[in-house]
């Protein structure tokens, strides 16, 4: 998809006026954070697990080449194949080539953010292969021709009336007078429609939450069971994974699994955790005939060793966005690409460029909640600041902004000048603002005063009071 991250301000403005979105975001605020907190309260070891998980991912990143090669050897030993792709284009071509060789007409898909990242659906459709999303949220946004607004709840931005409208428009062979008012009927309808797709599909594509080097297994974590039907009933199972998903052993996997569901949905464990190792065995009566792992780099190998390396610890739980005041106000689509929220504000500039996505690291109140809930302790605010610095260095921000910052730096780094300037400004503003006690608008701060009044300064600055106190103190 074409990113619209450059239009963040306009996107956010629109989002604020979207009543359905605001209702849906209200449901998120009252749901995810409370459920996560309750799950953590039941597991006294959570904080210790978090430390172990972080250390484990750091260990993997330091030795990533070794673990990737080991994983590859073991996939091959179990009869599977590994495809290495530098770019989204190489990954798309690899998937299409497998589909063509198997003469595939339709492919079912479990939820995969890598497929979103490489815009796989559009590409397959253009080349005569019909992709069918089977995660309910992904299916809803596919028939609405939208993209996900949340990495674990793709249709979070919608209310049930919008889903019902989309189902009526798409499922035209069903009775037009049927009732579709409540969630259970919508879920039942999607189940019946998609069951036929599962049975008819030629190839199944899923993502991977983890890849285990020791055994060559890929792991998906779902609640619906769609990823399992996707990979079990088809001729081939294609797994899309990014490089940093690999973990050493099954024991290491277990540690990360204990962190994932609790951080994401507040569940003790997701309903289905599935390990897939190679194609079906000769004596098996079901399972895919072929097993392919498509590794996507797309700039990740170059993130290692930079100030953004920590981002590669991300296990895509979504806790950062669930707890972000900015995300909770504007929703995921305002971010303009597939990864929204705090993790998207760091990752999107890496993947699509800071020229396109420079607004995202600025869309933060720096309250630090994202970092405090991140199971991998990723310093998201710090990395957003790195992007702001780069944006400043590359002169991508507005000229007035840069000159103001430079002026501020000049004054702030000279204490006598700073004190004199603030004393003068507070006296002047206090004098002008005395009649009302506040300012409804101020030059150069229109954006700030649009939503609130600025109180007029009363008296002297803290610095001058402090100096006086020290002089008179015994």
């Amino acid at each position: 998809m074409q990113p619209t991250s450059h239009a963040f301000k306009a996107n956010a403005h629109q989002a604020l006026g979207n009543a359905n979105l605001q209702k849906a975001l209200g449901l998120m605020r009252s749901g995810f954070p409370g459920r996560r907190a309750a799950a953590l309260a039941r597991l006294p070891e959570f904080e210790a697990l978090r430390e172990q998980g972080k250390a484990l991912k750091d260990h993997v990143l330091e030795n990533l080449d070794f673990y990737l090669e080991t994983f590859e050897q073991n996939v091959i030993a179990r009869g599977g194949q590994v495809h290495w792709c530098r770019t989204p284009q190489e990954a798309r071509e690899t998937v299409l080539a497998i589909c063509r060789r198997l003469d595939a007409k339709t492919v079912t898909k479990g939820k995969t953010m890598i497929a979103e990242e490489i815009a796989l659906n559009d590409y397959l459709e253009q080349h005569g292969v019909t992709p069918v999303e089977t995660d309910l949220g992904e299916y809803i946004i596919q028939i609405r021709k939208e993209y996900p607004s949340h990495i674990i709840a793709p249709a979070l931005h919608l209310v049930k009336e919008q889903v019902a409208e989309s189902f009526r428009r798409t499922h035209r062979d069903l009775d037009p007078d049927r009732t579709l008012e409540e969630a259970p009927t919508l879920v039942a309808e999607a189940r019946a429609v998609l069951r036929q797709k599962f049975l008819a599909a030629d190839v199944g594509i899923t993502g991977a939450n983890f890849c285990v080097a020791e055994t060559g297994s890929t792991i998906i974590v779902t609640n619906e069971g769609n990823g399992d039907l996707t990979q079990t009933l088809t001729k081939a199972h294609i797994v899309l994974a990014s490089l940093e998903k690999v973990v050493p052993t099954l024991e290491d996997l277990s540690t990360l699994l204990r962190l994932l569901a609790r951080s994401a949905t507040g569940q003790e464990f997701s309903t289905y955790t599935t390990l897939s190792t190679g194609p079906r065995r000769p004596e098996d009566t079901d399972g895919p005939g072929e097993f392919h792992v498509v590794f996507l780099d797309n700039g990740r190998s170059a993130m290692l060793g930079t100030e953004f390396q920590d981002m590669l610890r991300c296990i895509r739980c979504g806790a950062c966005m669930n707890h972000c005041p900015v995300y909770a106000t504007v929703g995921g689509h305002a971010y303009g690409w597939v990864y929204p929220g705090p993790m998207g504000a760091v990752l999107t500039p890496t993947l699509v460029g800071v020229d396109e996505a420079g607004h995202l690291p600025n869309a933060s109140t720096f309250c630090g909640r994202c970092e405090s809930v991140c199971p991998m302790k990723i310093p998201l605010p710090k990395m957003m600041r790195h992007w702001r610095e780069r944006e400043f260095e590359r002169r991508l921000s507005a000229a007035t902004y840069r000159y103001s910052l430079r002026l501020w730096a000049f004054v702030a780094s000279r204490p006598p000048l700073y004190r004199a300037a603030t004393a003068l400004a507070s006296r002047l503003l206090g004098w002008i603002g005395r009649p009302r006690g506040r300012f409804r608008s101020l030059p150069l701060a229109g954006g700030w005063t649009q939503g609130r009044d600025m109180p007029a300064p009363e008296g002297r600055s803290f610095m001058s009071l402090w100096a006086e106190r020290r002089k008179t103190a015994p």
Binding site: G225, E251, T255
Partner: protein, 230 residues
């Protein structure tokens, strides 16, 4: 694509400011892989004796809408299954995996149950399978694929009934891996390992929990208390 492989691994090593790992470091990492060292395992289940783990398993399973019926011996399993189905007005025709773990159960004593052994198809409404193990910590079943236990039987039928022996309940996922390695040999996993914690569900419409998204709407465990099946 091997050119892409070399380039990706090359970039990766350059970013890490080193070349290929030397033999000594590789040996260390190989040893780490082979050691299967456990990280922190929560005390919740690990600190209990086996009876306590079984109780915890039942409690955790019921918390996520799994239903559990406890029977004293394998001989009582057919009646428990028949009762469960009739109480809920579910069909008494069922598909059962050819798993030898289910062989010792006297199914013929309940002629009302119409049983087909084999792979589940779309029309099958009720499925019965065995399990490999179960994890008390989160009320999770561990099922593995094989010639006698096709994966689709865990997902296609609307109602999934699992016959579980008491001695299959263990504290943690880590114990599951140890048992699996002992049964299959280290590094030789079956095609599919399914951890199942409750019936299929979704929260994708207004974040309201709905059961039966794509997999079974009902998950019922018949827990056999006398240990070995027969």
């Amino acid at each position: 694509m091997s050119e892409a492989r070399e380039q990706i691994l090359g970039t990766l090593r350059r970013s890490l400011k080193r070349g290929r790992l030397d033999a000594g470091r590789r040996a260390e990492l190989e040893a780490r892989l082979a050691a299967h060292r456990r990280n922190l395992v929560p005390a919740r289940a690990a600190a209990l004796d086996h009876a306590g783990q079984v109780e915890l398993f039942v409690r955790m399973a019921e918390e996520v809408q799994t239903t559990v019926a406890r029977v004293a011996s394998a001989a009582e399993v057919p009646a428990a299954v028949a009762d469960y189905l009739s109480q809920r007005n579910l069909p008494s025709r069922l598909v059962m995996t050819p798993d030898p773990q289910l062989d010792g159960i006297p199914w013929s004593e309940r002629p009302m149950l119409e049983i087909r052994r084999g792979r589940a198809e779309d029309a099958d409404q009720v499925g019965v399978t065995a399990a490999f193990a179960a994890v008390a910590e989160t009320g999770t079943l561990m099922l593995i694929s094989g010639p006698d236990s096709p994966t689709r039987n865990n997902f296609l039928p609307d109602t999934h009934v699992v016959v579980l022996r008491r001695d299959q309940v263990m504290a943690s996922y880590e114990e599951g891996w140890s048992r699996l390695r002992a049964a299959q040999g280290a590094g030789a996993l079956p095609r599919t390992v399914n951890f199942i914690t409750g019936p299929s569900r979704t929260g994708d419409i207004e974040q309201r929990l709905e059961l039966g998204a794509h997999g079974p709407r009902r998950l019922h465990i018949v827990l056999v208390d006398d240990g070995a099946a027969s």
